[in-house]
Amino acid sequence: MEIGKFLPLSEATYYVLLALDQPLHGYAVMQQVEALSGGVVTIGPGTLYGAFANMEKQKLIEKVGEEDRRKIYALTGLGRAVLGEQVRRVELMARSGRAYLRQHEGEAA
């Protein structure tokens, strides 16, 4: 399976995958995403419901249980690989971005 076709992840997708590093139900994902993003990203229930359906179809996540009408999802191997690759690319972007800014710091002044 080619990982590159899933990238780049949207901000919402990225945080949802990150939250699903441990099995969670929808509302716990919403809370976790808000905590992980320092309150910057909030996900509405309509958006999350659609995101779950899409990611499940893409086999990035899978349903691992159901409790009290709540579906519990977790990352699949593919989801973990996609998330890892996204982190690697963002780190690369941040590294080269920082280097560029340092290099040109003096010029602007």
């Binding site: 139900h25 229930p45 309509g46 958006t47 419901y49 009408r69």
Partner: protein, 182 residues
Amino acid sequence: MSEELVRRWKFHWAWEDDKEEQWLEAQARAGLHLVRATPFCRYTFRRGPGQAMAYRLDYNRRVGSDPSYRRLFEDAGWEHALSCMGWEYWRKPVQPGARAEIFSDSASKIEKYKRVLGLIVLANVPNAVNLAVLPAAWHTPASASFTGGVAYGLMTGLALLSLYGASRILRRMRQLRAGVPS
């Protein structure tokens, strides 16, 4: 305590869901809280204290058989007001300074409009077949009747209306893609 029920007619096209939300919010401010609706948009309200309430409409014909859909919204603080022909009506008291949204990004709003668009296309499949076949049958004396003409006119009307509706929805989708705030 006796409950006073109030009935109101209000018709909205499928592409005017935002106007319908605003209208329901205005009713809530005036103390009318949605209880149910008939498929022909006759709303029943319960009279109570006026409240700042956010109403949001989702369209999804598949969620009726999935109990986790409602559970997710309820967990997030939304109350299910009613379902009507694939439309799901959600409401939540408005907190000052907070925007209550069931869709938090434009991608998921676009997906909702795609589902509405699917409904319009589906409603026109038999229509399209009829419109294609009827002109051919037009030349036979039996169908070149007054009734045949009326039927043909009605179908053409539905097709034109659907085209108009579809163009309105496509415009909303384009605006969402371009980042125009809704």
